[in-house]
Amino acid sequence: MSLAIVEQIYEVLVDRLEAMRDNDAYDIGIVEVIRPTRVGEFTPRDRQVLVVQGDDERVNELDIPGNPPGIARRQTFNVRCHLMPDETSGEDVVNQAAADIIKAITTPNATWHTMNGLAMDSEIGKFEYVNFDGGPDGVNVPVSVTYRVSEYSPFVSRI
């Protein structure tokens, strides 16, 4: 089965975040990277990363003519890190978590924005600090990825 370009981008993002597991190069050790499903099989855990697909938008000014034309889209992925630190520790690693997520996503530094050659550009948006009112806290790091595909086949990149 061939994967849609946006799905391939999703997998690149997850692979980069997975590199944070058991890796001394990062300050916080994450326990898992998951994609939430319709039936909600996950349970919130300390230092758990969720990659949630956000809004899709058309970017008409980056379309290119041809037959078929190339259609540009921008997809936002919300990278959410849950933090449930030990009640007795009083530690607050929310800023470290956001920094580590950026470090992971932007590796390799020179070409991170192409998502392994699948995208034209990528951008990290404004942090959103999450508080579940007594549940897990965390931080959301939105990543917007602009890519272009064939009008007839979103499985074919038209970078």
């Binding site: 959410r80 009640e87 007795t88 007594g134």
Partner: protein, 115 residues
């Protein structure tokens, strides 16, 4: 024995009796220790987490005795990592669920929210 003592004893002997509505669950502490306890598990509907991009998780309301051997003591529970292990649906294999908050507690019982 005072009424208060009786209610505390009833919390584990009566309310959390597995012959009635309770079931055996496993309490996993953040430090790696665990023990089997009895609890009444209310399996609620799925909840939407708007803070999390509208993800969905099941919600469980769990009643346990406020007791360090037969239940969970209110001074030992740590909502920063403690988990309970029970089936998500009756008949399914057990899986671990995080205790995300203590919704209510007194000398006899704790009411916990697990997701």
């Amino acid at each position: 024995m005072t009424l208060k003592d009786t209610m505390q004893a009833d919390a584990s002997a009566v309310f959390c009796n597995t012959d009635d509505f309770a079931e055996a669950v496993t309490y996993h502490k953040r430090n790696g220790l665990s023990r089997s306890i009895n609890a009444v598990v209310q399996r609620e509907a799925f909840a939407i987490n708007p803070e999390d991009g509208d993800t969905i998780t099941p919600v469980f309301e769990v009643f346990v005795a406020n007791d360090s051997t037969k239940g969970i003591a209110s001074d030992e529970i740590n909502i920063g990592g403690d988990m309970l292990e029970f089936p998500q649906r009756v008949g399914q294999p057990k899986s671990r669920r995080s205790i995300v908050r203590i919704t209510q507690h007194d000398e006899g019982m704790l009411t916990l929210e697990c997701r």
